[in-house]
Structures are given as structure tokens and as C-alpha cells.
Symmetry: C2
Subunit: 511 residues, 2 copies
Amino acid sequence: MNGAESLVHTLLASGVDTVFANPGTSEMHFVAALDRIPGMRCVLGLFEGVVTGAADGYARMAERPAATLLHCGPGLANGLANLHNARRARTPMVNIVGDQATYHRPLDAPLTADTEGWARPVSGWTRTAANSATVGADAAQAVQAAMTAPGQIATLILPSDSSWDEGGIVAAPLPPPPAALADTGTIEAIARILRSGDPAMFIMSGRALRADSLAVAGGICAKSGARMMAQTSNGRIERGAGRMPIERVPYPVDQAIKALSGLKHIILVGAVAPVGFFAYPGKPGRMYPDDCIVHVLARPDQNGPAALAVLADTLGAERAVAPSAPRGERATGAITSEAVANTLSALMPEGAVIVDESVTFGRGLFPLTRGAAPHDWLALTGGAIGDGLPMSTGAAVGAPGRRVITLQADGSAMYTVQALWTQAREKLDVTTIILANRKYAILLGELAGVGANPGRTALDMLDLGNPNLNWCSIADGMGVESARADTMERFAELLETANRRSGPFLIELMT
Amino acid sequence: MNGAESLVHTLLASGVDTVFANPGTSEMHFVAALDRIPGMRCVLGLFEGVVTGAADGYARMAERPAATLLHCGPGLANGLANLHNARRARTPMVNIVGDQATYHRPLDAPLTADTEGWARPVSGWTRTAANSATVGADAAQAVQAAMTAPGQIATLILPSDSSWDEGGIVAAPLPPPPAALADTGTIEAIARILRSGDPAMFIMSGRALRADSLAVAGGICAKSGARMMAQTSNGRIERGAGRMPIERVPYPVDQAIKALSGLKHIILVGAVAPVGFFAYPGKPGRMYPDDCIVHVLARPDQNGPAALAVLADTLGAERAVAPSAPRGERATGAITSEAVANTLSALMPEGAVIVDESVTFGRGLFPLTRGAAPHDWLALTGGAIGDGLPMSTGAAVGAPGRRVITLQADGSAMYTVQALWTQAREKLDVTTIILANRKYAILLGELAGVGANPGRTALDMLDLGNPNLNWCSIADGMGVESARADTMERFAELLETANRRSGPFLIELMT
């Protein structure tokens, strides 16, 4: 058995049975091993940003890591932006990065690069497999590291001789340590704060945003008068009819400050204290009042749902029953954010997975879909645009039988447009809604936000027209059927068409 | 004057008047400064790999650095693969990477990343601008570093407050130090070796591959009986009718070993000793005989052409007159590498710039175009595929009035396909020839090379069919006119059409 074979066997034994891949020469023995060993689903991406973003989306839904297969330092580099996003979502992932043979590396062949150096900033665990005998053990540790709460990226660099040399040894799975529990003293201190009646807000992320935990947190809020919000961007929120709704800390600084004004206590559950996405001249970096105290009920690596449950018991709080919310009706007339939200809310199938890279246009989509059929909402967590199409690709692999709907800004879609081809190849049930405003709309707002007054040069750099992108042509080029919607009526019709079919469909919505 | 304005003024004063940009929020003051200060050409790319690859192509032709404008660590990361290629080409470049405000960075907002850590492996010079008062001086040093022989990448990270704060100071240009000269003793020792009659070969790269220097080197070879070859991949070769032809060390290991067999001396001129692109089981890493001695006439940072000139004088060698070579005739019949090469050779306009990311199909294109009209040949230097479309985009900006012809493998084209849009927007004279074989052909060869016998899973991972990419649709989606060629006759017709027009054109050649 060679190193590559021991690696594939170990990954399978450890519960990793899906690999998103963009292989090169140094990975050929791994590819050959995939041939010989049944059980691994291989999904090809035509660019590494597709591969890493898909592995992120997969794990958010499947709740276990996928592997990626990348080629040398530059292949890893192409995937870093979506690894950054996955790191911010605390997604478990195992990167296998093929690289130069150990003895060839000192010769500094053209493709040689600082693979470890590029991997470390996004990886909680990084290792180069020294030889074929250790690859199996390395892989078991990589999976364990990936699954250690709250989830992290593990990168195993695989020199080609560690892959092709004989002497591979399959390693037994290593169970990840259980997520730590919050200590009783902390929970009691927070209970006292809540009983005090001081203005308090839970800010939550991670597993606390699943339906069960939201009901528990909602009950605590009902009992104590505290409020709750989700972080601005979260890996996954379970929401929709019958589930406790939760708003997110707004992205625009002024709105965030307003939402958090008057608070005396912020209680973090798997979240970080709210800070601005960027600094702006004359505006604060922290979004909460200076005299507000930040408490930690559960760190991201702790078990937030368990801490909430203990807190609810301490307070004698019942689970909240979700208030009913209107489902929304399909809209007619002008294409506005509100109209799109209402139509989406009306037509979203039960169990849909919404992948949200809607950026500017989409800020209104979240609040108005709270009454839709139960669904999951997956957001861009690290701010590195180009995650939407890949994440939906992986989410569809990780949640078979559920419709994935991608709310996708056009500028951001271009970064990883190659994902459409993988959706076509794998016949994934993904509806991509391109919100085609033909500009970097967010940057026009940001330019105003920093006090700059744009002229011709600046406007040209934020404009995606001249020439206009034709998304139906692009989709056709990659084998995805598509149609354009110039009216709300047509949008609703196309959304229904997409719901009924299997496989991918793209709607170019002229916003 | 704010920091951003001092930066733009300093870049212009230092001779940098072109910026390839994919800006984000943290760069808005820089964008605003570009508005207010005339003289900088701004070229927008819809993905950072386009931006960095274009800056590479620009500098290879313009012989001075362009700036790039990138957004935070992940924006830089998206550009790293083509920065890796540019580093291997020893291309001068100045990256401006906007980032979090100095005081906002400790808050670890979502887009915060290890920007410096990602920059260092590809940059000869890296600095974070501490404040607005130093930005001008930082920029002057960055340009100096970029232009220091043989050319390198300088990365200036620009926190947004260093950009927007007042107190900017324009810095005077800093001239780069002249390239070092080889010492006389070295040149004389090499002259003695050449006089000995032992089998010797020059291996050349960098400036030694310009027409003048090739004539000098050719004369030395004629006088001494030595041979000469170019590195496998080179930033730029001047070639075609009337110029001394030079072959390249072959990419396939067995062919390379054969080409260098029997040598007693290798003499490097701006090149590195030939090693395999990858290791293969049972094959050597170095391509030259064990008893062959490697001499250095000129390191990459030294003046190779000057060293060759002194060596020629020492030996009493005349400049070589290029042997005549057939121009080639437009081919008919089956679409083969040879037929494409002949047609290309026949129809290539004088002064064409050939950008070669043709990978497998294209290995035969170089030898058979030596008799074409004088042209430049720009290659993928670092092996990180996805450089062709961006490099041709930048080369067209850097060499106005010359036709750029991109020989582009289809799999590689997908990595940075967004470059087509920039070609359309800027109306660049680029003819893209997509060599559509619908597979990662090189990997099928590599899989055989490592001794693996592919099954269904492996073949699927190397196959770009299912669904087939439709390059004419993709081009249309990005505003580039295109047509498909299924015959050699049609290919010739389309190549002539493209030659006659201005602006970009794409030919999908079904190979």
C-alpha cells in the first residue's frame, strides 16, 4: 500500500467521504488511489476557489468535513479567499495539498512555493507529511483537528513521494474532544445580570442559531426582557415559519450603533463582540456603547446550546413559541429588494438552503423572508467575495434532496463563476439568482461612507457595465440553463420553473 | 494632501502610470485620489488573478512596473498564483494592498487576515505603510525595489487611515542601482572552457533572450562550437525572421535529459540550472549529466547581455547572422499542433506578442514558428496555470499598436476567464485562441508518467467534457466577439479576421 492509498483509506475510516478537487501532477497518485478504493465521491472544480468554497458549503450542511485536493502552493493560494471565509464560519475542512517530492523541493523547480507559509494563516492545523509511513496518522489527526469544536481548517501538505512510496499505514479514526461546557459560575453570573433588568442583548452565532437553541434563547429573552441578535454574518441559521426569528447586527455602522444603543450588557454565545466591518473616519470601531459590558456565556469552542439550556433552567424559562409571520406574497411591478424578498418568501420550497452573497441589494431580503417555509440561511462570513456560487455547489452536495437558492450579487459572482460548470456536471439542485445591477454597488456606498466624492475615474472603477455582462450566455457556456427576468412576474415564473426541475438553473434578475 | 494623494503623486513621479485594479472599501481614498490627480491609467479587473497577471504581462512588454490595487489579505490571496508566475519571470511590479485601518486591525473584523504573511513569499520587498506621512517615501522605495535588477515584486500594504489621513508627502523617485557586471575572471575562465572544445551549452534567460543578445550568443557558439538553449519557460523571447533562433530545454524529463546529454559544461546566463518541473519515481531531478559542471556567466541580477558582449570580444566572436527559416504556410486538413503552428507562422503579423499558455497541445507551436515575422514570445514561467488571458490583457496595455495572440489551453483558461471582460472594456487588440481539447491533457500524460493506470474516477477528474464548455458563449457573456473553428481553413480565415480588426476576438479551436 502506498502513502496515497493509506490516506484515502484513513479519510474514509474517519468519516470523510467527499473530496472537492482540482488536481495537478503532484496529486496523480492520490487520484489513482481514488480509482482503486471505492467510497469517495469526487467533485471536480475548474478553479480552486470553487473547491474550497464548495467544501465550506458542504460542511455547513453535512456537519462533517469534506476534503479538498489542491495542487502545490499556487493551487492552495487560489483557494485561500474561500478558506478565509470558511475559517470565519468555523467550518471543518481537510485540505490535501499535493506538493513537490521531499527531495525535489531543494531544487526550487518553477512551481515550488511556500505552501506551508500560505496555509498557516487560515489553518488551525498545518502539517507536511514527512513520508509514506506517516501519511495515514497525519490524515487521522487532520480530521480530528478539523472536527475539534467549533470546527477548523486542517491542511495536510502531501509531497509526491510521501504519496507514491510504499509503506503506507491506515490509521484508526481519532474522535474529536467534546466541546467544552461553560462553567456554572459564569452561567449564574449571567442569570443575575438578566434578573437585574438592565438592558441586555444576546449576540449569537454558531450552533446557537439552530432552531432548537433559538427557541431556548427566545424563552430566556421572554422571561428576562433581554433581546437577542445574530452576528452580522453567520455560517448557518435555521429559520422560517415555526422557528424563532432572529435579526442580525446590521452591516452599516450607523445602523449597528443604533441597534445596540442603550445596552448595558452584551452576552456572547459562540459569537464575537460586534465591531465594524471596516473603520471609517470619525466613527467608532466597536458598535456597542462604551459603558456596555461584554460577557461570554459560551466561547465559539464551547457548547453554546448546552449553556443556553442550563441558563434557561436557572431562570425557569420555557422554550419560546415562534410568533407567526406572514409568508409573503409574490410581488408584481417594479423589481425592488422588497418585491424580490416577498416573492422569494412566497415561493421558497420547504427545506430550501439559501446561500446569501447578495451584498448591497440583498440586505432587505433576510428580514422579509422570516415567514417563509422552514429553511437554512448560509452567509458570506469572511467578507471575501466570491463565495456564493461555490458555497451553493457544496451545500447541494452536502444536503441532497433540498433546493439550494443562491442570492448572488453580479460583481461577486464573477470571482468564482467556474462553479456553474460543477453544478451542471453534478446535476445539482441549485437555483442561482444573479442580482444584476452591473456595478459594485456596495463600493459606491463605501465611497460615500469615507467622505469621497466620486468623479469619472472612480465611477469607472465601480461600474461593471461597458460591456454589460450577459449572465445567460455565461451560464450557457458552462452548461447551465438560464433565463432573464425583467419583471417581477417573470421572476416568479422562473423561480417556480426552477423549483420544479432537478439540476441547476440560473435567473438573471435585472435589478 | 492625504496619504493616498501622496502615493499617487509619488508613483507617477517614479514612472508608474498604469494601475490594474480590483478595489474594495479600504481602497476608496486611493480611488478618490486617482480621480483628482490626472495621469494614471486605471484598468479594472473583475478578479484579482486578472489584475496581477495583467501587471506581469504589462511589465514584460513595457519594461517598467505597473501598480496593482488589491483589497485586503483575501484580495491579495486571489492574486498570488499570478504573482508567483511574475516572480519566476522576475517581473517588476508594485502591489498596493489596501487593508484595515491601523487602529481597527486589533479588533479582528471579518475581513482581517495575515496580509503581510501572504505577501512575503512572492515579494522581494514588503512593507506596511505606518501612517500618511511615510506613504510617499514607502512608494518611492517600492518602485525602486521593483526595478532593482532583474526585477522583483514590491508589496506596499496600505492601511486605510494611512490613506485618508492628511499629512502626505510626495517623495522623489529613487533610481534603482544598475545591474551588476560579471567579473573579468569569471568571463576569462568561461572563455578558456569554450576554447577547450569540451561539449558546452549556454542556458539563457532574462534579457539575454532579446534579439541583440541572441546574435552575440549565437556568434560565440559559432566560434566555439558551444550550443545554446533557453530555459524551459521564460518571461520574453525576441524571435522570428532575421533573429537568432533558440530552442528551449524541453519540459518532458526524458526529452530534457536527452537534450543535455553528453554535456561537460553548462554556462548560465540569467538562468537557473535545469531541473525537472516535478519529480517522477525513478527519474533524476537534475536534467544534466552528473559530471557536467555548471558555470555562471551572469546571475539573474547581473547584466547578462553585457557579460556576453565581453565574452564575445574575448573570443573574437562576431555577431551571428540568423539562418533563414521558412515562414510556414497556412495549413489545410486535420487540426494538429503542426498545422496550427504553420498557419500561425504564416499569418502572425509583424510585431505580434505571443502569450503562450498552450500547455500540452502547444509544445509543437514554438519550434515551427521560428520563421514567422519578428515577434515576442511570453510564456507561463511559474507553472501556476491561469496566466494566459490576464498576461495577454496586460501585454496589450503595455505594447499598444501590436497584436497580442494568446495560445490558450482550455482548462487553464477557466482559472482567470474574467480577463476577457477587461479586454472588451479596454478594446484591447488581443486574439485569444482557445485550444479546446476538453480535458486536462497534461495530467493524462502526467498520470502515465508516474506509472498510474487511470480508471473511471481518475479519468473523470481529468475530463472537462460533460458538460462541454462553450467558449463562444462565455466570450459573448463578457462582451468579446468570437467564432468557432472546426477546420484549419476556418481557423486561418478567423485569424486573418482578427488581425484586421481592432479590439479583442476569440477563436474556439476544436483540437
